[in-house]
């Protein structure tokens, strides 16, 4: 129950936080809070840790796995962690609520989220998906609002997105949002051929897996953050060339995912990590124009009260 976890997480945060978002990280440790359990989407971080890329740069980094509903942005903002990983859209929405976060590195240049449908489903165009059948989406999320504005939900039954694939597997007219390396892999493994329509191909393409910190922390520790980003980037490059050690490490922390699934997901996500132009040199960097465009989109969707600038990127 993501929502209970979020509310409980938030209340715990309120009770445990020192309430000073600008407070110094006491032990000199850089705590990086993930929004999910160890999976290939965080592979570069675990590779960097295993290869000693952090310690070689005199950085004490603590990688903290998340769970369903972990309030990552609030944790970073309140000083429970120095850095976190979240989606670009969530960061802009947070900015519009007065949380001064700043992105420092984007692992996924292209958004790996999309809609998953049965491969045999006959549709003449994407708009057909919104005219009949059932679609599982997260209520209130930016992609849900985006699809509503672009296509309208006329005739489709909208239901909450969950982690259970049972309904999808049994209903050929059931579609759902998905993370390209997760649900489609699991569904295919369960014997159902799927087709994925990526949000980026529909016009919604925020950066994903964005490493961020609070601006006050960045201003106090610019060199530390710059060094960390270099280590993370090197870790990702190492993960892509030889993912096996990091996969073994992640499997020891997340035993629910099989080795084969780890390998398949690692293979699939490659297409979303690298910018189409610029190659590996520009890996992790972000363009201000894309943030501006996303900000405009979110404002048009009513997710922010005004277009929100992410601020100068480091």
């Amino acid at each position: 129950m993501n929502r209970w976890f979020f509310v409980v997480g938030l209340l715990t945060l309120i009770l445990t936080t020192g309430c000073d978002s600008n407070k110094e990280h006491e032990s000199g440790q850089l705590r990086i809070q993930f929004d999910w359990v160890p999976e290939p989407e965080f592979g570069g971080y675990y590779a960097a840790e295993l290869m000693g890329l952090f310690s070689a740069r005199n950085l004490a980094v603590d990688l903290r796995p998340g769970a369903a509903g972990t309030p990552v942005i609030q944790m970073v903002a309140s000083g429970q962690a120095e850095l976190g990983v979240a989606g670009a859209d969530d960061l802009l929405i947070a900015k519009s609520h007065g949380i001064d976060v700043v992105p420092v590195f984007a692992a996924f240049h292209d958004c790996p989220l999309g809609l998953m449908i049965h491969a045999e489903r006959k549709i003449n165009g994407v708009e057909d998906l919104f005219k009949n059948g059932t679609l599982a989406m997260t209520p209130g999320s930016a992609p849900t609002r985006f699809l509503e504005k672009r296509y309208g939900y006329h005739g489709v039954k909208l239901v909450p997105y969950g982690n259970n694939l049972a309904t999808f597997m049994s209903d050929p007219l059931f579609g759902q949002q998905c993370f390209i390396t997760s649900e489609p892999v699991a569904a295919e493994r369960g014997g159902v051929k799927v087709r994925v329509i990526l949000f980026k191909d529909l016009g919604y393409n925020p950066y994903a897996g964005v490493l961020f910190t609070r601006r006050a922390f960045l201003e106090k520790h610019p060199d530390e953050i710059r060094t960390l980003v270099a280590a993370v980037k090197e870790g990702w490059l190492a993960y892509q060339s030889d993912p096996e050690p990091a996969i073994a490490r992640m499997m020891s922390l997340n035993s629910t995912m099989s080795l084969e699934t780890f390998r398949t997901a690692t293979q699939i996500q490659q297409d979303y990590l690298w910018p189409q132009a610029g190659g590996h040199e520009t890996f992790g960097t972000m363009e201000a124009s894309r943030w501006d465009s996303l900000s405009k989109t979110l404002n048009e969707l009513g997710m922010t009260s005004a277009p929100t600038a992410i601020g100068s990127l480091p």
Binding site: C19, I93, G98, T138, P139, V159
Partner: protein, 262 residues
């Protein structure tokens, strides 16, 4: 001033003190609004979104009420059945206890498979959560009729059915209503959990959907306003059943008569 109005003062005064303390405490501690909104901000947000809250609470309330009525009827009948035969009681009651310990969040996704998405699944969730206290309390009431009165009925050669109708059921009503009072709040929780998993939201959803969308939109004050609304809904159910209990028993049972005399 009536007694029921006088009874409202202590909790309202305590609530006011807690609210003011939270307002001041959060300000003094410097807790940012995105972590924990001030009570005043929550109330302003609730006022601003009153229509959405009202509609969502209406949907959730209706589902919870339907589930509660279903569990009152089903639970009452089940307790009656269990009271009639010791063997059946010994066989079924442990399963009832087992059923009660299964977390609803774990079986909620299965309800989607059983009855599909939509209000039936939400109602079923409310029913499942609120069933056990009604069965347990009603059964207790049915089995604990005064033995002296049972003997008296038997001396008068009353049939088992007559003993059930004239003695056991009337004497079980207070326990049944106690179970119903516990189940009232649980039915709201059950409905909200059902909405998290199984509701449809293309035409607007219940309070569970509102909580979820507010979390996604990072509208923390609205999350708290929705939580406040769901709490009020549960409280309304509890008070309504309490009122029903008082009306039903005031002339029959000494406990209710005494409580009404304050």
């Amino acid at each position: 001033m009536s007694r029921s109005l006088r009874d409202l003062y202590p909790p309202l005064i305590l609530l006011l003190i807690l609210g003011l303390s939270a307002e001041l405490g959060l300000d003094l501690a410097g807790v940012p609004a995105y972590l924990c909104p001030r009570p005043s901000e929550v109330i302003r947000t609730a006022w601003r979104h009153q229509e959405a809250l009202r509609e969502a609470l209406g949907r959730t309330g209706l589902a919870a009420l339907t589930g509660l009525l279903g569990s009152a009827l089903g639970g009452g009948l089940l307790a009656l059945t269990l009271s009639l035969n010791a063997w059946v009681r010994k066989a079924v009651y442990p399963l009832m206890v087992f059923f009660q310990t299964v977390p609803i969040v774990a079986i909620a996704p299965m309800m989607v498979i059983w009855v599909g998405y939509g209000r039936p699944a939400v109602i079923l969730s409310a029913l499942i959560v609120s069933l056990s206290p009604i069965v347990a309390n009603s059964l207790q009431g049915l089995l604990s009729a005064d033995p002296a009165l049972v003997d008296l009925f038997r001396m008068k050669r009353a049939s088992s059915l007559r003993i059930l109708l004239k003695l056991r059921i009337p004497s079980a009503i207070p326990q049944f209503l106690t179970g119903l009072r516990i189940a009232a709040g649980l039915s709201v929780i059950g409905a909200i959990v059902g909405e998290f998993v199984a509701d449809t939201f293309d035409g607007g959803g219940g309070i569970g959907t509102l909580i979820e969308s507010s979390i996604k939109e990072q509208e923390t004050p609205l999350v708290f306003a929705a939580l406040m609304g769901s709490t009020l809904l549960g409280l309304t159910f509890f008070v309504a059943v309490g009122g029903l209990s008082h009306l039903a028993l005031r002339h029959l049972h000494i406990a209710e008569t005494r409580s009404s005399q304050g």
